[in-house]
């Protein structure tokens, strides 16, 4: 609409909520299409849509500026080598990275039998994405989880899947947040055990961990609280070999070449 009236990006302020600029003088938006007919490459619409999920300064102003420049024939505004284009691609990258963070670091908690029936839910999760990716990126979990019913609550929005259809809420219902935040999880100890033991203390590299898994995600991960603890233990001189202390403390068992047939044939102990 603004584009069709040829409104220059410098004349527009896009905002959500109350406007803080005291010098701003409100001008009513045009109500009908203006004369300018822009031709825009289809790829740009997808890129703008992606970048619009980015939370940050000048969220909408920026998109309009890119649209303005491309609509007026300057396609470099879409390319990563350009100043504006490089910011566009940076935002797209941040958004897709955040979707990837959702797929990677979200943790579902299975609800106990006593709640599965009344709530019609099998799994709940609480996650804090930095950008608005919940709605566009949650289909991934429906692909993974068959007919299971699940819910993801965030401080802003929420989504629920009943095994067939999604229910997306821009404002997450308080009840969903309660269920997701207060879910008890006695079964998490199994995962924490795995995490402790798959870690190799002889290769301690905490910077790489922080680079790939930013600290803001740790508090919703069952293993999050183990990270500083394991780093501390590894620094206290456990770096020479890779075995976890709990395993080293247990009695060992060598297999003699004579007895090996016998031992190997022993059925698994349940």
């Amino acid at each position: 609409m603004l584009l069709s009236h040829g409104v220059d990006p410098s004349q527009v302020t896009w905002s959500q909520g109350p406007v803080a600029d005291l010098l701003a003088e409100a001008v009513a938006l045009p109500e009908v299409q203006g004369p300018f007919r822009a031709s825009i490459p289809a790829a740009l619409l997808g890129q703008l849509e992606q970048a619009s999920r980015y939370h940050g300064e000048q969220r909408w102003n920026f998109l309009y500026e890119v649209l303005w420049r491309v609509a007026h024939g300057d396609r470099t505004a879409m390319l990563a080598g350009d100043r504006l284009g490089s910011e566009l691609h940076r935002r797209i990258k941040q958004v897709s990275r955040e979707a990837h963070h959702l797929h990677a670091f979200l943790r579902f908690v299975p609800l106990p039998e006593s709640l599965v029936g009344p709530l019609q839910l099998d799994l709940v999760a609480f996650h804090e994405p930095a950008h608005d990716i919940l709605q566009s990126a949650s289909g991934h979990f429906a692909d993974r989880l068959g007919r299971l019913r699940w819910l993801i609550a965030t401080p802003r929005d929420g989504i629920r899947f009943d095994g067939q259809a999604f229910d997306y809420q821009r404002q997450c219902p308080a009840l969903w947040q309660q269920w997701a935040r207060n879910a008890e999880d006695p079964g998490a100890e199994l995962w924490r055990t795995y995490y402790r033991h798959t870690f190799n203390p002889a290769r301690l590299n905490p910077d790489a961990l922080r680079l790939h898994m930013p600290g803001r995600f740790w508090r919703h991960l069952p293993e999050g609280m183990l990270i500083p603890q394991l780093e501390g233990l590894a620094r206290q001189g456990k770096q020479r070999d890779g075995q976890a202390q709990e395993v080293a403390a247990q009695g060992g068992k060598t297999i003699s070449a004579m007895k090996r047939e016998l031992l190997a044939a022993k059925p698994p102990t349940q």
Binding site: R107, R144, G146, T193, Y194, R240, G242, A264, P268
Partner: protein
Amino acid sequence: MQLIAKLGILADAAKYDASCASSGAPKRNSRGGDGLGATNGMGICHSYTPDGRCVSLLKILLTNFCLYDCQYCVNRRSSNVPRARFSPEEVVRLTLDFYRRNCISGLFLSSGIIRSADYTMEQLIRVARLLREEHNFRGYIHLKTIPDADPLLIEEAGRLADRLSVNIELPTDESLQRLAPEKHAHTIRQAMGVIHQGQQAVANEPKAPRFTPAGQSTQVIVGADSTDDSTLLRNAESLYQGYGLKRVYYSAFSPIPDSPGSVPLAAPPLLREHRLYQADFLLRGYGYKAGELLGQAGNLALDIDPKLAWALANREVFPLDVNRAEPALLARIPGIGLRSVQRLVALRRERRIRYDDLIQLRCVLDKARPFIVTSDYRPAQAELRSGLLRARLREPQAPVQMGLWG
């Protein structure tokens, strides 16, 4: 023994295998259907441990009882470690529980050799079959292949798993004889051949049942013996060409508890491992040959990366004009990656490339500067001798810890 106690022992026993990739599987999903799981080709790292490595799969051994006595292995029969064995149902239960929680994207199952190679392989197959057939599991499965197992068993595993791997562990016959007397280079290669043939048989048959769609991989241990990088890289190159391997993993030898005298006690050579991965990536992605990266016997330089090393050794190729050079040559400029090459090629169709564009593209200009020409820049350092350049570009080194093998 409690499940949780077994999990501790058998995860600890499996951690020395570096591979944890869950990428490359075909598109599958369980939306609205029976069972569980999806793959879409992209790998997901669900967590990272403080060693900086990704946790993508549940990586465990079925058992760490083992008849073999490989000196570098914590589970060798003469090792004094606690032993445990999962039942196949227990592995299935753990996999599905962790998968539902979104902690993993699948299973990587390996095992000590019990009773016989065939028996062990059958046990691994049994787990995969339970997951795929009883539980309709469509997540990622990676099975370790026991080299001496019957080829028919290997083929069966290939139809159930997304990836199979046979570990080389030590790249020379001499080292295998000395440190892993029950293993043989020729049976390892035979098993790789069986997997490769299985892949070729379905390569152009879209309707045939899938066979290891995510490919096969292997692992070599770095620093447990005296093999040099030149041998390792030439070996990797021949595996990529001969058996169509997807990946060769390099695992810096981690000293093990109760270590035998035949393997080093030194800290793992992590920087050497890193340089090998960089060189390996240049083989797979950039079209370098092993012989270009290391012309003679020896190891890769530790103070500079292998791409910079190649550029310094081939100064006559540079400086390259970013506005004219072929994409394959652009990719040989230190500090400019494959993605930047694509973007530069797209941009130069629109206009001439300037120095500032490289900054916008976040190229590593400290490395690239002496090797490039743009419309507004020529390197003053082009005449600088390689030795001096190298002194400027080398990465700061931590104090050297001498390993047993230097």
